[in-house]
Amino acid sequence: MLQVIKSVLAAFLGVQSEKNRQQDFQSRSPWPFIVTGVVMTLVFVLVVASVARWAAS
């Protein structure tokens, strides 16, 4: 699980080491990555929105 979160964060930044990439592709199913990606994108949007709301108040 930690490995999946780390890989999604790396994808957000656009930087991933070759070692981790190899390890990710050992995984049997892509679904953990997809679900974690969607959830973390939602979290990111909410964080940005609340920062914007806080800055505007």
Binding site: L13, V15, S17, E18, A56
Partner: protein
Amino acid sequence: MHSLLPFGRWLLVLCVIFASQVQAAAINTSSGWNLPPGVTSISQEIFSLHMIIFWICVAIAVVVFGVMFWSLFAYRKSKGAKPANFHENTTVEVIWTAVPLLILIAMAIPATATLKKIYDTSDADIDILVTGYQWRWHYQYVEEDLSFFSNLGTPRSQILGEEDKGDFYLLEVDNPLVVPVGKKIRFLFTSNDVIHAWWVPDLAIKKDTIPGFINESWTIIDEPGTYRGQCAELCGRDHAYMPIEVRAVSQETYDEWLEEQRQMLAEDAAGSQREWTMDELMDRGKGVYNTYCAACHQADGSGMPPAFPALKNNPMMITEEGRDAHIDAVLYGRSGTSMPAYSGTLSVADIAAVITYERNAWGNDAGDRVQPSEISEMLSDD
């Protein structure tokens, strides 16, 4: 590596010379190369943001190109340098992604603080509704029940090159926007036809005026003076001929100006009742014609057929039978052509005068007068 030292020193000298040149150009704002600092606290804040970000860009450029040129020089092939052959370096990649991110966030913080001020239109002393028209501005002082059009003030002879161009060529108007200094003025922007943009660089205001929408902005001008601007959204043929002139004056001068405007309105209202002489109508009509009609129909009435018909010897304008159609065309426009309706734009006296002028100028000899009272009657019948 012994050749590196003189080169590094040379590079440093070059950077210092470049930076001092750029700084001289940047500080000398009257050079015309830089953003003007403007005359309001907001415009000056925007100017310093612009300069901070400019210097950040300069610093980044010096570092990036410095490293690049130094690498090119110090590790050149003739010195036997061998290219490294590796695939990735996660640490370096994370650094060059995170550093720009941090720089952007650092720039966003002061920019957001200024943006918040720009959008704070609360507690205004004066509200002015600015409406874009093809091709003039209309200003309405909401609290004062005062409104007027602001037309291009440059004479056509200068535009046509028959006369030398003045100092404020295409940047002068007949009725400037007059505002008092030291007061918070809220502008409401909209448009009557297409999208225009009200742009006065010295006030750091550039707002689109959009039909059916209201945009907002505000200013407090501290220094009395005349601040000029232009329409900044391509809006048709005379886009370049609808300038903005803002005159910031003392409160006393502003009050006097308001009083004057009220008197003129009262005179206009009285004028629409009485009988006008031919000379009065012709005199006023000529002015109205040159402001509102001459751009298309030409000062000599020759028009630009087929788009803009000639008014000289136009059957509608030299016969008694054409009279009603003539008045109708000016009041309500002609659908399917670019002739607009003037019933909402011009006063009844202006409409009567310009129709009389068109019927009796350039050899047109209808010989009749159109009275302002006649126009008011027609309009109240609707």
